[in-house]
């Protein structure tokens, strides 16, 4: 603001008129954009390194500079990571894991969101005695380290008789997604005007009719957030994937771990990086496509005062 004082100083040669003069390179702008760009670089470096490395051949990787762009671009590592990298005797890369991940993620996301949204709706709009106690337990559950729960869940799944099956894993994801998802939906539905809900009751709509016809159509933002969070969370899960499935249904992350850790002599960093990118691709795409909705939904569901 020092510059303003200068201009409107005693020399009334220029009579201030119209918009306040502004400099594109004011100290403020340099500071803001400078900081942002610097931080952006920090955030982008790993992605850059991953991409660049994955496009180099092994000799080039061994030569050394991880930041230098590839002298000769090769897609070999990508092909290898996708279709021929080996774990033990299986040499079909990540391709199998990809479809397994899809088969795990889709039903898990659907189930966990279905349960949590109905649940959040019941908690927000149909409060009943005792619900808060369960909900509090659930929220505290969000803090319990997964490792602590592995064994009890093994027993639980064994007792139900779905250990090792896909449905077992889906159930596990639904269970561990429940606290945060329910919280999200509960907050969102609690912010829906209560009168809307009352109007529907006067109109004779019951529990499910209100949920399906009134609440669902108006909760797109929060569903987007829930889908994004669950998709990335479940897709990225390693621990449950490895503990609660069997090799023919291993998700992609487990296969990534296998490829990265199955060192055959020298570490093939380029293949590892390609595999890493491939594994992260689905959640990344989800983020890039719906990032804007995500922020809006977060504002609607998470940050309610």
């Amino acid at each position: 603001m020092a510059d303003v004082a200068e201009i409107s100083g005693p020399q009334t040669a220029i009579e201030p008129r119209g918009a306040r003069p502004r400099h594109a390179f004011s100290r403020r702008n340099i500071f803001i954009y400078g900081t942002l760009i610097l931080v952006a670089v920090y955030y982008l470096i790993p992605l850059y390194v991953m991409v660049v490395t994955s496009l180099k051949g092994m000799p080039e990787v061994r030569l050394g500079n991880i930041f230098s762009p590839p002298m000769e671009i090769t897609f070999e590592p990508w092909v290898k990571a996708w279709s021929s990298a080996c774990t033990g005797l299986n040499c079909d890369g990540l391709s199998r894991g990809f479809w397994n991940s899809v088969r795990i993620t889709v039903p898990s996301v659907i189930l966990s969101i279905a349960i949590a949204s109905v649940n959040g709706y019941a908690l927000a709009n149909w409060r009943f005695k005792g619900a808060d106690i369960f909900f509090t337990v659930l929220i505290v559950g969000a803090f319990i380290p997964y490792q602590v729960m592995i064994y009890p869940i093994v027993i639980l799944l064994r007792e139900i008789g779905i250990y090792g099956s896909l449905s077992g894993l889906v159930l596990v994801h639904a269970i561990f997604g429940m606290p945060i998802m329910t919280l999200l939906f509960r907050n969102y539905f609690a912010a829906v005007p209560e009168e809307l809900f009352k109007a529907a009751r006067v109109d004779g709509a019951g529990f499910w009719a209100i949920y399906l016809k009134i609440m669902l159509p108006m909760s797109l933002p929060i569903f987007v957030v829930a889908i994004i969070l669950q998709t990335t969370g479940i897709w990225n899960d390693f621990l449950f994937g490895v503990v609660y499935t069997r090799p023919d249904t291993y998700p992609m992350t487990v296969q990534l771990n296998n490829i990265v850790n199955s060192v055959q002599g020298v570490k093939e960093y380029n293949v590892n990086m390609a595999a890493t990118i491939l594994t992260g691709l689905v959640p990344l795409i989800v983020y890039f496509v719906s990032g804007r909705l995500f922020v809006r939904g977060i504002a609607a569901g998470a940050v309610k005062g």
């Binding site: 009168e195 809307l196 009751r201 006067v202 004779g204």
Partner: protein, 362 residues
């Protein structure tokens, strides 16, 4: 015949008692307004009638049927909400038909009712729009339509106009009044806007702290408020209050507050006005006249103008009388200057007297 009848209704939210042993009978075809300050339990009462809140004790009858534990949809009521509460993702038609479809009303009957409601409320051209594409007034009309198509005996309104601006509010007020004349349904209408209450109601129930303070016709409430609360709550600009005592001379009572004495001859009351009784005297601003010359003795006094607030058609003049601020409503033709000396003339027949201790009308 009573349309809605409430017996000993109590409602508690946890430890907080919001309604206390409330009794209320609403006649068939009556327009009853629940009026009261924020938080007095108006909406709560309405929600109890609608079945949207579980009551703690008491009974509710609608059309002679005990509906205390019925579902809202089975009570024969329609409800209009302050925030409109339209289903945002449905068209206006969808909003109107949602309840009927839920109730399994046949198609042609639905069409008939929609047509009638749309006709009455003049919303035919809006039927295929979404609520988001409507103005505030149109939304409110659709909300009324949603209650209308339910073809019920009792309409409940919860501050249906308070989200609208003043102009629209007065327009829709007239429409609601017309609608009532046309349909002759029972209507229970919650508001905290007294103009609405006064213009719409057959009877007004003034509430405070979960209790009904006075249940009467609008002009009775305006002119003969039963207690200090009703007197001060109703009327804008508010009633002027002066604290003083009765000093009876020769059977004709006189009100005295410091130097100010006002004869109470002509004041109608069942009780006797015993000398020495501490009372509060209330005058509405329009029941005091400003004059340049003193009026009859004992009904007039001198005052100094403090402030003149022109309000278009009339003005509110604030004056100081014996150290007290008094407001008087006058025609806006003449402006008064601060400091100007004038005389006030009181009409005891239009006054209200309240006991200081009980705050009830004497």
């Amino acid at each position: 015949m009573t349309s809605v009848s409430i017996k000993d209704l109590s409602l508690e939210f946890g430890a907080v008692s919001v309604l206390k042993d409330l009794n209320l009978d609403v006649g068939d075809g009556e327009f009853l307004v629940l009026l009261g300050p924020s938080g007095c339990g108006k909406s709560t009462l309405l929600n109890c009638i609608a079945g949207l809140l579980d009551i703690t004790d008491g009974q509710i009858f609608i059309k002679g049927k005990n509906v205390t534990w019925e579902e809202p949809k089975d009570r024969g009521i329609g409800m209009v909400f302050q925030s409109y509460a339209l289903y945002p993702q449905m068209s206006v038609r969808g909003n109107l038909t949602f309840g009927l479809k839920n109730a399994g009303v046949p198609r042609d009957e639905i069409a008939r009712r929609i047509e009638r409601a749309a006709n009455i409320l003049q919303i035919e051209p809006l039927l295929d729009r979404r609520p988001g594409q409507l103005s505030g007034g149109q939304r409110q009309r659709v909300a009324i339509g949603r209650a209308l198509v339910r073809d019920v005996d009792v309409f409940l309104f919860d501050e249906p106009l308070s989200n609208l601006d003043a102009k629209l509010r007065s327009e829709l007020r007239v429409e609601i009044k017309r609608l009532h004349q046309q349909l002759a349904n029972t209507m229970i209408y919650v508001t905290h806007d007294q103009i609405e209450a006064l213009t719409l109601a057959d009877r007004i129930a003034v509430m405070k702290g979960g209790l009904i303070q006075q249940l009467d016709e609008p002009l009775t409430i305006y002119n003969r408020p039963r207690n200090l609360f009703v007197a001060s709550f109703i009327g804008s600009p508010a009633m002027n209050f002066i604290k003083g005592e009765i000093t009876g001379t020769n059977g004709s009572p006189v009100f005295r507050a410091g130097d100010l004495t006002i004869s109470l001859a002509g004041y109608e009351t069942q009780q006797s006005l015993a000398p020495g009784h501490c009372v509060i005297l209330g005058f509405r601003p329009e029941h005091i006249t400003i004059s340049d010359v003193p009026g009859p003795a004992g009904r007039s006094c001198e005052a100094v103008v403090d402030l003149d607030e022109p309000m278009g058609a009339d003005s509110l003049v604030w004056l100081k009388v014996a150290g007290k601020a008094i407001s008087v409503r006058v025609d806006s033709g003449r402006r008064y200057q601060p400091g100007e000396k004038v005389f006030l003339i009181f009409n005891p027949a239009m006054a209200s007297l309240f006991d200081v201790a009980t705050e009830n009308r004497i």
